[in-house]
């Protein structure tokens, strides 16, 4: 039953690898990483006598900034890819050839989404690898909190690409991607909007706040490198991560149910 999902997912990942724009994105991401990690030069050339605490603080800041930027770019790209992946199959009518085989619609959708995730998890892993190499070079240990921070970034990618993917089955890909991008980029503003004096702004803020995925407010990556968070509330972090993954799964499930009764190609 899962074989079809696997083949479609692997094919989708291969398709994304074949896209030239992905390589352009990769080099843009590397460039942005170099800019965000501009302090790296100072860290490599600093005197050994520098205060170790201040040094660690600076290293933690640079490392978390680098990985969060890399992760944000990856999530942004995954939103675009997820929003367009079924649309492009539909437009080219490739979907007909796939669904003519003994493949259920949910298997097709799951395969496409997992394929996108697989590709961007790999992309995220490259950024993580760079950060881990630097951590090992500086002798910084990898803490549970840091790992939790990494997992929360994986969760963000999964959730927002899931929103874009699910919405794109029913609305134009640009719109689906746009909505997902607004949730992803301005999510923290919705909570502030709930405190607005204007009733409509407060109402809008409340609706958006409860619609959007939960947010981990702590910078777990930086705190994880510094390892200075006293009594970290892991149960809260894990429940937010779990809740968000459930959110993505539920949205996908609802989308699959509606997609089941959707005309695939209107002639």
């Amino acid at each position: 039953m899962m074989n079809a999902v696997k083949y479609i997912a692997l094919n989708t990942t291969a398709y994304l690898l074949s896209r030239k724009t992905i390589y352009v994105l990769f080099f843009i991401a590397l460039f942005v990483l170099l800019i965000t990690g501009a302090d790296l030069y100072g860290l490599f050339t600093s005197e050994p006598s520098t205060d170790p605490k201040a040094m660690l603080s600076q290293q933690a800041s640079v490392l978390s900034r680098m990985f969060i930027t890399w992760s944000a770019l990856t999530t942004f790209a995954s939103i675009i890819a997820a929003a367009g992946i079924v649309y492009s199959d539909n437009k080219s009518k490739i979907v007909l050839g796939i669904l003519a085989k003994p493949v259920a619609r949910w298997q097709y959708l799951m395969g496409k989404w997992f394929g996108v995730l697989l590709f961007f998890y790999g992309f995220l892993a490259i950024g993580l690898l760079i950060v881990i190499i630097l951590m090992l070079y500086w002798g910084i240990s990898i803490t549970v909190l840091f790992v939790t921070g990494v997992i929360s970034q994986v969760m963000i990618l999964t959730v927002y690409s899931g929103i874009a993917f699910s919405l794109s089955l029913f609305i134009a890909p640009m719109l689906a991607g746009g909505i997902s991008f607004i949730f992803f980029s301005f999510g923290s503003l919705f909570e502030q909007l709930t405190n607005s004096d204007l009733w409509w702004a407060s109402l809008l803020g409340s609706v958006l706040y409860y619609l959007q995925p939960a947010i981990v407010k702590e910078n777990l990556l930086e705190k994880g490198v510094l390892n200075n968070l006293l009594d970290p509330n892991f149960s809260l972090f894990w429940s937010v991560i779990g809740e968000n993954l459930m959110y993505a799964a539920l949205l996908f499930f609802i989308a699959v149910i509606f997609f089941q009764k959707k005309d695939i190609i209107a002639s």
Partner: protein, 310 residues
């Protein structure tokens, strides 16, 4: 009794169009049965509802009303899909793949065991004349090559039912002939083939049955032999016919068709006896007498004109 491969009862499908979602009727209360082992051609002008019907059978379009069953299973079921080989009008696949990889993808989805897959892919590529293009990416394929690849993926899992939407699109005469041969081979194996086409001579050559659609409805359906012989005319073949002999048949409506040193006089049933008598009395050599067979193309145009007039 021959079991139906496809059974359609009261199929109705509408599309929503425009800002106000106006309903456009694409298929209107269509019922038909495709017997197992038969080759059935679906004809009709553009917008007649052929592709909509095929997509409803395939399960990619959801009917507004009606029942479709494929070997007793609903179209979207895995059991039905296992038995279908489908090719769309213009076959498209992922451009970055080479034909072997593309077929491997479809073969795996069709559930072909990996130990049999490579052999089957080689066989189909060779049968469809694509062996020489193994190292080319699909994006460099011509329209005709894409169509061949589409047929190859449809045949790969040896399906019981071939569902082909305009399979001759983009093919040169050689390619068309090869597809006809493939259809004939599959028919000889006892497979069922249901396809739409605008090329009526090909339908006439390979099909046992024909279904003609117009405005979403079936306007003609039956065995090719039957539908093409529905005519009130007779054909009297004579030798040595000359222009001046036309006066003999004055008062009789007839049509003259010359070919191969012979002349066919097409005469209405009611005037057959009278015309024969005149020709016999004149001593002209009569070499044949048979009911006038109507070609599918003539029939198609006739029905189309009748519909337009009405």
């Amino acid at each position: 009794m021959i079991k139906p491969a496809i059974s359609i009862q009261g199929l109705t499908k509408t599309y929503s169009q425009g800002l106000f979602k106006d309903k456009v009727l694409a298929v209107d209360d269509l019922s038909m049965t495709i017997p197992e082992g038969s080759v059935v051609g679906l004809i009709g002008s553009n917008g007649a509802g052929k592709t909509t019907t095929i997509y409803c059978i395939l399960g990619t379009l959801i009917p507004d009303a009606g029942l479709i069953s494929i070997y007793g299973y609903p179209p979207q079921s895995i059991e039905a899909r296992k038995r279908i080989g489908f090719q769309s009008e213009i076959f498209n696949t992922y451009n970055f793949l080479k034909p072997e990889k593309a077929l491997a993808f479809y073969g795996k989805l069709a559930g072909i065991e990996s130990e049999n897959l490579a052999g089957r892919i080689d066989e189909k590529l060779s049968r469809l004349g694509l062996s020489g293009a193994k190292n080319q990416k699909v994006k460099s394929f011509s329209k005709g090559m894409n169509q061949r690849l589409g047929i190859a993926q449809a045949l790969l899992h040896d399906p019981d039912l071939l569902l082909l939407d305009e399979p001759f699109t983009g093919l040169d005469p050689q390619g068309r002939r090869e597809i006809i041969e493939i259809i004939q081979e599959e028919k000889a194996k006892g497979k069922t083939i249901f396809f739409s086409s605008h090329i009526l001579s090909d339908i006439e050559r390979v099909c046992d049955k024909v279904v003609m659609m117009r405005k979403g409805q079936v306007v003609l359906s039956g065995d090719i032999d039957q539908v093409t012989s529905i005519t009130d005319n007779w054909c009297i073949s004579v030798k040595g016919w000359e222009k001046e002999k036309e006066r003999m048949l004055a008062g009789i409506e007839y049509e003259v068709v010359d070919f191969d040193g012979k002349t066919d006089l097409i005469i209405q049933q009611a005037e057959k006896e009278k015309a024969l008598q005149i020709l016999l009395d004149s001593g002209i050599e009569i070499v044949g007498l048979h009911p006038k067979m109507q070609s599918l193309e003539e029939l198609y145009l006739e029905l189309d004109n009748k519909e337009e007039v009405s």
